[in-house]
């Protein structure tokens, strides 16, 4: 059977599975809709969190980015996993004990103010919308490449599927489809990785194959070979990298703290039964994520080596079928500058003839390695699972921010539960349509902003939540001042150095790199903005009155797990 037929079979089968699960797990109450009734087991929550977390970016782009960045790619590996340690140790158990529905719920109650709640809602919407647009685009790209439908049709199909199970099932439907999606995506990622690892090093475990010797009997280590190839072509050695140390530190910190501050991740820990379940499911989530995150750098090394070997100084006329197929998508371009009919892939931009988009590496990897048709098709199903599961989680945050945090808690506290549930469904529908619109008409800045969403989360939520739990005297004025300064500073830095807004537009951006504050890139600036948030919050707090007695009691209460008597029916 051809790749095309396999792809249709696997994609349609997985969609039927997701829809079936959604019908089986419909939401009946707002508690079902926002937190899946609060009775999800730690294992299911760990699986769902992992799927929720691993987006199209983790599945499709990350290994490719690492393949081109080498050591510098470590910022994503450490940054996007290390955040779970912060989440598990500093936030999840206490937020679970607090036991409401959303992150703005916590900020609003802990800081006893609607202003704080509204600022939190705006931050949540800003972070989630930028993130979700990228997911819908990912769905479109997978559809267009593997099923050969138009990118826009792909986005619309994706919208209908997500709409169906997010609107019908709410958090409950999303949780159980995400469990299935995790299984699909991890299988789809690992099968090709294992195949290629065996091919190149004879070691069936990709994580170990990466550090093993080549299977050709030469006794050379794979990484040494790749270092050699890279320097030969004028690049820095793969294991060396070229970013400055301070920038590596700043980006890693911003990604870690941003991960811990992302509302769609935090809210998952409201769905388990007890505080101890929240801790355990954070551990399980990271374990499931780590399977992909430790395999990704291996895939990067395999793919980069394979690619260089395939194209380097080879005649263009002899390029394999995948080369021409990706050329048609525009993600891979070849210009024969010196007219010798050979492909020159080198560091020097004046002589380089081949430009390869990051995103190709994972998607084309099975084809480059000549793997069977069903394995290639599996990657398409996996990419869709990754994009859809993340999109659904984000849509839920957007929907609950609007229906619960704004309509119910700010404008109309008398709202009946039934009406609120309808508002939640309406808000989810609206959010899908807006996300779909951005998927079809991507503003040029989507990809850039997705990376910066972490900076925004780090600069706004993390300090407010952390201080809310660990510093009893922290008051409302301090927290609000900190959040507003943090996120404004981050937005300013982003607009200045990522979009060149104050220096004449996009063209000015590369020239501005020398003016970066402390040599820190916009991607890493979230860590500076976070520190500023902390500083402002603490200073303002010092000069304003402490929070009321009942808030201090609330903080003492969330620090203690399960102080309440066991539930009845015992």
């Amino acid at each position: 059977m051809s790749v095309q037929v396999w792809t249709y079979i696997l994609v349609i089968a997985s969609f039927i599975l997701y829809i079936g699960i959604a019908i089986w797990s419909r939401a009946a109450s707002t508690k079902d809709f926002y937190v899946a009734g609060g009775g999800v087991s730690p294992l299911a929550n760990g699986l769902a969190t992992a799927a929720d977390w691993m987006s199209a970016a983790s599945f499709i782009s990350m290994a490719g980015i690492i393949a081109f960045a080498g050591y510098d790619g470590s910022v994503y590996l450490m940054g996007w996993t290390g955040g779970y340690v912060l989440l598990a140790l500093l936030l999840a158990p206490y937020l679970r004990k607090f036991g409401k529905f959303t992150v703005p719920d916590f900020i609003g109650e802990r800081y006893y103010s609607s202003t704080a709640r509204i600022v939190a809602v705006l931050c949540a919407l800003l972070v989630s919308f930028t993130y979700v647009a990228g997911q819908m685009r990912g769905v479109g790209v997978v559809f267009s490449r593997f099923l050969e439908v138009d990118v826009n049709t792909g986005v619309v199909i994706g919208m209908v599927i997500v709409l169906f199970y997010a609107v019908l099932g709410g958090m409950k439907g999303i949780t159980y489809t995400q469990v299935a999606q995790y299984c699909v995506l991890i299988f789809a990622f690992m099968v090709p990785a294992i195949f290629i690892s065996i091919q190149m090093t004879g070691n069936p475990v990709p994580q170990l194959g990466m550090g093993d010797t080549l299977a050709d009997g030469s006794g050379t280590y794979l990484l040494d070979k790749l270092d050699g190839l890279s320097t030969e072509l004028g690049f820095t050695a793969y294991t060396d990298g070229s970013k400055s140390r301070i920038d590596i530190l700043a980006i890693t910190l911003a990604l870690m703290v941003g991960t811990a501050g992302l509302p769609h991740v935090i809210v998952r820990f409201f769905t388990v039964k007890r505080v101890r379940d929240a801790r355990k499911s954070a551990g399980l989530a990271l374990l499931f994520i780590a399977i992909l995150y430790t395999a990704a750098p291996a895939v990067a090394v395999f793919a980069k080596t394979n690619m260089i070997e395939t194209v380097r100084n080879q005649p263009y006329a002899d390029m394999p079928a995948w080369f021409t197929k990706w050329e048609q998508t525009g993600l891979l371009t070849f210009t024969d500058r010196n007219g010798d009919g050979l492909v020159q892939y080198v560091q020097d931009p004046a002589r380089n003839e081949l430009v390869v988009d990051n995103d190709i590496m994972v998607l084309a990897n099975p084809e480059i390695a000549n793997l069977p048709a069903w394995v290639i098709a599996l990657v398409a199903a996996g990419g869709l699972a990754a994009a859809l599961s993340t999109a659904a989680g984000l849509l839920l945050v957007i929907s609950s921010s609007i229906s619960h945090d704004l309509i119910k808690n700010v404008f109309n506290p008398q709202l009946s539960e039934k009406r609120e549930l309808w508002y939640a469904r309406g808000a989810a529908t609206l959010a899908v349509v807006v996300a779909g619109y951005f998927g079809i008409n991507p503003p040029g800045f989507v990809a850039a902003v997705v990376a910066l969403a972490f900076g925004l989360a780090a600069a706004s939520f993390f300090p407010a939540i952390l201080l809310g739990i660990f510093y009893k005297r922290m008051n409302s004025k301090g927290a609000v001042a900190g959040m507003i300064t943090g996120i404004s500073l981050m937005l300013f830095y982003m607009l200045k150095f990522k979009f060149g807004l104050f220096d004449g537009g996009k063209e000015a951006v590369p020239g501005l790199a020398s003016q970066w504050w402390f040599g820190i890139s916009p991607e890493g600036f979230g860590s500076v903005a976070m520190l500023v948030n902390f500083a402002v919050a603490l200073v303002v707090n010092r000069f304003t009155p402490p929070p009321p007695e009942r808030i201090q009691e609330l903080v003492e209460d969330i620090r203690i797990p399960d102080a309440a008597p066991p539930p009845s029916g015992h």
Binding site: Y71, Y84, A88, L89, D212, L222, D562
Partner: protein
């Protein structure tokens, strides 16, 4: 009644201090493997190798992640023990 309340508060403070100590130690290790081994001391660690991995590079792309997973599970086990010691956990039939 009043003394019972005070006793509760003393217990809660002791629990919180033990919790902070544990979290502090674990986050120390967290920073050491990532910011330390993976970034700041990477060049120095690169003089050793495990298989084809230079050690600093290994920490940055593999080792730190393994340690993160272990850290959370150590936290889970030790916190459950602490909860039991302070009587904060309800008996659980499923485990």
């Amino acid at each position: 009644m009043e003394s019972g309340k005070a006793g509760k508060a003393v217990k809660a403070r002791a629990y919180w201090r033990a919790n902070l100590r544990l979290v502090g130690i674990l986050l120390g290790i967290w920073a050491l493997v990532s910011y330390g081994a993976g970034i700041l001391f990477r060049d120095w660690l690169d003089q050793w190798a495990i298989g084809g991995f230079k050690l600093g590079f290994w920490f940055a792309q593999q080792g730190a992640i393994y340690v993160f997973v272990i850290l959370i599970f150590v936290y889970v086990v030790l916190m459950n023990r602490l909860d039991r010691k302070f009587g904060y956990n309800t008996p659980d039939k499923n485990l």
